[in-house]
Structure formats: C-alpha cells, structure tokens
Symmetry: C2
Subunit: 368 residues, 2 copies
C-alpha cells in the first residue's frame, strides 16, 4: 500500500508473539489473565487475544466497556474509580454482561446502591505507592468499613483488592522494578490475609507491564491485568520490559525537510499523532522516540543516536547520525517507535497491518 501521510504501522507477528508470551506466562503460573485493552482499543486485535483463550478483559472507561461489549466481550472490569455520573450507562451494561467496577470511597457506594438495579462486582482500589488513587493497604479500619458497606448492598459483590504499581514507570533499573513489585505485593498479601476469612474468595489483581514482563511466579497474586505489552514502546524498552524488536507498532512519517548543518530532518509526525509523551534518552536528555527505517512491510530499528528531538502539533524534528542523514531523502518515510504506544494508538485510531489492510480502533476519526 502506498503510504501518503503519517500512518501507524502494526507488525502482526510481533503483536501475536507479545500476546502469546504474556498469556502463556499468566496461565502457566495459574493466574487469572484479564488483559487491559486500553492500549490497542481495537475489536479486531481483541480477537487475537480471544484466539489465545482470553475471555476476561480490563478497560479504563464505560465508553471503552461499551465498545468491547458491542464486540462480544461479556466479562469486563472498568479499572478506573467509578464515575457516578455514568451510573445509567453502567446499569445498562451491567444488565447484560458480567461487569466489575472499581472504587475506594463510601460516597460512591451509597450513590451506586441507590441507582443500580443489576448486580456488579466491586474491586477496592489499593494504593501501594503510586499515590494516584486508592486506599493505603495499612488503613485496615477504613477498608473494613468500606467492605462492610459493600456487603450491606445486595447488588454489590466484593471481588477483591486491585492495585496498579504505576510507580514502576519511574524506576531506574530492573532491580528497582523488582523491588517495587516485591514490596507492593507483600503489602497486598498481608492485606488479603487479614480479610480472607471474612471474605473467602477475594482476589488480588495487579497489572503494570514492567512488573508483568520482568517478574516470574507472581506468588500471592491472583489476577494479572497488563495492557501495554501488546505493543510495547520506547519507554518499556528503557525500563527493561522488552527489547526494541518487541515493539509491534511504528509511526511511519513522510520526510518533508532536511537540514544539513544540524543533521536533522523534519517529518510529518507530531503531538497529534504521538501525544506529547517524552522520556529520558540513555544519553541523558529528553526525547520523543527512537527511529527505524522501513524495509518492505517491516522496519529495522536504528541505533539510539537517531531519535526524535522535539515535537510540536504536526512536526517532528529528528536527529540522525551523519551516515543515516546522508541516506534520507525528501519524500522518504522514516518510522518513529513511540514513547507511549497507548497514546499513539489512541491518537491515530487505526493501524496498517503488515502494509496490507487497515484495522480501526474505538478512537478512529469520522473525518480523515
């Protein structure tokens, strides 16, 4: 297919390999595997998971739950503190599929109990150190009161404790990721041990891709919800979760200008395609993605000294090694390995699979 403008490429082989590897790892360890679909957001890619035996999923919004429910998924956890303004929609969805919601406060429970007519599963959000949302696992009295309140609501079924070790994304080494994982897990295991007699069957659910990629065994954990691994990205490479050749998507960008003096090119590819996510390059400065060159329907990753130096709304400024710069012409395509694949997939709305056909996701635009 002739690529005319900025296009998100998907290598299906790499994607399937990532899906299989993580699915097998979870199942081999006897864990419930409930992957997060916020990364790909695509009913078609969801089918690739189904073919591996996945039938329980995680999403981050009611909108996303509705999208996947329409595609036939009937066991969904919305892993975001419940938005009580959407209770009508939650009720509608809960009346026809098995739906779990997430919460960490009594106010939400009272409102839910007043307005729901269908059963929903409830996970309580626990904050093991990321400090975004959730109750700290040592706040036993607070958690106990919340669980008592949930138990008093006949339509609410307490499922367990859910946490996201998002602080692994700030780690500076694999050892640090392992340490965050171990400390966080120990706190959740202790919490479970306190409540398991009163609530037999309660589970512990976690799911960041750095931990899920680097840890084996997952002792004490019951359910895994990673999402990003389906594509991985430049950030996961920097964290040590994957190699650059495990990255399943790349943003193909037309080269529109060349600057000999600074060995930089301008590509049609910017924040509307990649979002404004950045990371720290191994050489210590802020950057916006590694670079690859296209070869047929695949791509070859270039050395790390080729990188996106800055982005604005549609522009990407790419710094290249001298030899690479000399080989790149106006009108060529180069590929950017995104810092954050979830955001790039969300921005682009569709994927060109192996250079052959487009598949869309729920963020596909109505005008293109």
């Amino acid at each position: 297919m002739q690529i005319e403008k900025t296009t998100l490429l998907l290598n299906k082989d790499i994607c399937l390999r990532n899906i299989r590897k993580m699915t097998n790892k979870a199942l081999a360890n006897g864990k419930i595997f409930r992957p997060h679909f916020k990364t790909h957001q695509s009913a078609e890619i969801a089918n690739w998971f189904r073919e591996e035996g996945v039938n329980q999923i995680t999403v981050s919004s009611l909108t996303m739950a509705n999208y996947f429910a329409a595609a036939g998924w009937d066991d969904i956890t919305i892993a975001f503190p419940v938005n009580i303004r959407e209770l009508d929609g939650i009720e509608k969805l809960a009346s026809r599929i098995s739906l779990n919601i997430l919460l960490d406060n009594a106010d939400s429970i009272l409102e839910i109990n007043n307005r729901l007519k269908s059963k929903v599963g409830v996970f309580v959000k626990i904050d093991t150190g990321y400090h975004r949302a959730g109750i700290e696992p040592e706040f036993i009295n607070e958690i106990d009161e919340l669980l008592n309140l949930i138990s008093s609501c006949t339509l609410l079924s307490f499922k367990g404790f859910l946490s996201h070790y998002g602080n692994t994304y700030n780690a500076h080494s694999k050892q640090e990721i392992r340490k965050i994982y171990e400390q966080s897990t120990q706190r959740l295991v202790t919490l479970k041990s306190i409540f398991t007699a009163k609530y037999p069957g309660l589970i512990i659910s976690i799911g960041d891709t750095p931990s899920a990629s680097l840890i084996s065994g997952f002792n004490g954990i019951d359910e895994l919800r990673p999402g990003n691994f389906v594509f991985y990205d430049s950030m996961q490479y920097l964290l040590g979760s994957c190699s650059l050749t495990d990255i399943a998507i790349a943003l193909a960008c037309p080269v529109t200008a060349r600057y000999e003096k600074r060995k930089e090119i301008v590509v049609y590819g910017g924040a509307i395609h990649l979002s404004h996510d950045s990371a720290i390059h191994p050489d210590g400065f802020t950057f916006y993605g590694f670079i690859a060159r296209l070869r047929g329907n695949k791509w070859d990753v270039l050395p790390e000294s080729n990188y996106v130096k800055s982005i604005s709304q549609e522009h990407g400024v790419v710094k290249l090694q001298d030899s690479v710069f000399d080989s790149v012409k106006i009108g060529d395509l180069i590929a950017i390995l995104p810092i954050h694949s979830c955001m790039t997939a969300n921005s682009m709305g569709k994927y060109l699979v192996d250079g052959k056909n487009f598949i869309t996701n729920m963020s596909n635009k109505s005008f293109d």
Copy 2:
C-alpha cells in the same frame, strides 16, 4: 445538558470576543489576516470567523485543507513543509481552490513541478530562530537559487517568506517575546528588501499567538496567521498573551475520588483528553493545567494554587487548596483550563457550546 463524562466546554462569548479582537487588530493595522484553523479544527467555528470578514485561512495539513475546503473555504495556505507523498491530493485541491504551499528545499520543487497540473502559490519557509524548519534569512544565495527554481516552474507562483516565531513560546517574559519579535522581524524585513525588486508583491507572513497578542503595529509585516488566540490556554496565560478569563475552553471532568490526607482529587480527565502537554507553574514545578469551577453554563477560575498535578491516560490528579477541597464532592464536575488548547480540541473532537449543544471538529471520533 447533563454532563456524564469528560466534556470540552466552549464559552461562545469569550471565543467571539477573541476572534473579533484579533481580526480587528490585524485589519486596523492594514494586515492580511489569514488565521490558523488548526486550533479549533471546526467548520462551525470557522463560520464565526467568516462573519467577521475572514476569507483566507491557514491550516497545517492537506487533510485539514480538505476538511475546510468541503466547508466552503477557497483560499487556504498549508503552513507545513509540503509532503510530496500527498501531491495527488494537493493537485486535486489546487484544481478547485486557491491553494498555497510551503517549502524550503529544491528537491520538493522538482517533484512538485513534475506532478502538478494546477497552479499553486508558494511560500518559502524562513527560520528566524525557532530552528524547527526553514532557511536562515541570511542564506541569501540559497534563497536566491530556490526562488530562481520556483520562477522557472510555470505552475508555481512565489508569494513570499513565511516564518513562525515559535521560540516566543520559550520566552520568560513579555519583554523577551517583544525582543524575539523585533529581532526576527528585522531579519525578515532585511530579507524582503533584498528580493522585493526582483519579486515585487512578495509578502512577509508570520503568526505566533504570543507575538500577535502582545505586539501592536506590526511594521514591516504583511500577513498575520495566529491560531491559538481563538481559545487561548493556560500556556498563553503564563506567557502573558491573555488573562485566564480570556480562555474560551475548559475540560469538564467528573470527580471520582478524594484524598483528604493529600488534599487531592482524582478526576476522569487525562492525557487522552488533554494530550500530555505540561508547563512550569508560577511556583516553579511542572503542572498540567489550572482549575475552574462550573457555575451554570460558565466557569469561575480558581486561584493558581489549584492545579493539575499529574496526568496519566484517563486520570488527572488535581491538587486543591484546603477550602476548595472541602467543597468538592465525589460526582461533582471540575474544569481544567488546558495547557495547550489546540491539542485538547484535537483530542476531544467536539465542543459543548454554552452548555446547550455540541459542535464537532474534524477530529471527532466515529465511536463515542
């Protein structure tokens, strides 16, 4: 209208005031006014400009040019180094409207000349210090050769020199913005003086919102292309381009969790809504937007000590003053004044105007 989930609010009065003020300023100074439509990306908001007498516009992609051409705009500059992979589409559009393209290299010209059948206007991109794209204005020989080449192509009509003083966005004071403006303009005026005998009628076109907002007179400039002023945003406020009450859009976000200990709330509003743009707060740390409270269909801006502390894909963590925190309940809406309104408008795809009706832009999603 009952707001159930993250919604981009537009205050039409503020927006019209911003449009009128900038249009009048440009016309009162005798300048060609060719506003950039990449900020709002909306055919309906475009009509508000038309009602003020605007009939020439700037866009940043062929896709955007096609969208506005379909809405009846017939004099469009695509202010992005021309992507020669889209020449078929450029030809198609140039055959029916007055189209200007931008370039800074000979390779593009040769390809364009081989493939176009319709006339297009050409602006040469000049780099006055932003160092993203363009030729430095002192590279007279290089520019002369490029203009000779353009003149040799019968379908190409040289229009003038176009620059974007994007380095004003890195300024730390209004004085610094004025200094960047003056120095950059002087270089362009000198450049024009060199070529105006050979190319009578050539114009100088510039367009960053900080300069356009702060400068008066615009001596030596022929055309103004600002875009962001239609909405402004938290970044423009920090630069001194506007006051917080000039910001015409705000992201309404449901409050889904509250944390007494840290006086923080979690809202349903994150990078998929705001992109990942950040700025430096007046108190010296990185932040992701100021906060307002809704009042009817409008909003009241809160003091700067209320701000978005961090964002992830759907989550925003908002730090509040004690008194504000105490007044915010689960299920309330709070509003975020985006760091970068262009990106928020692009991410959201539609606007709720004065709480009454939605209007869409070209990035509207097919599933919602």
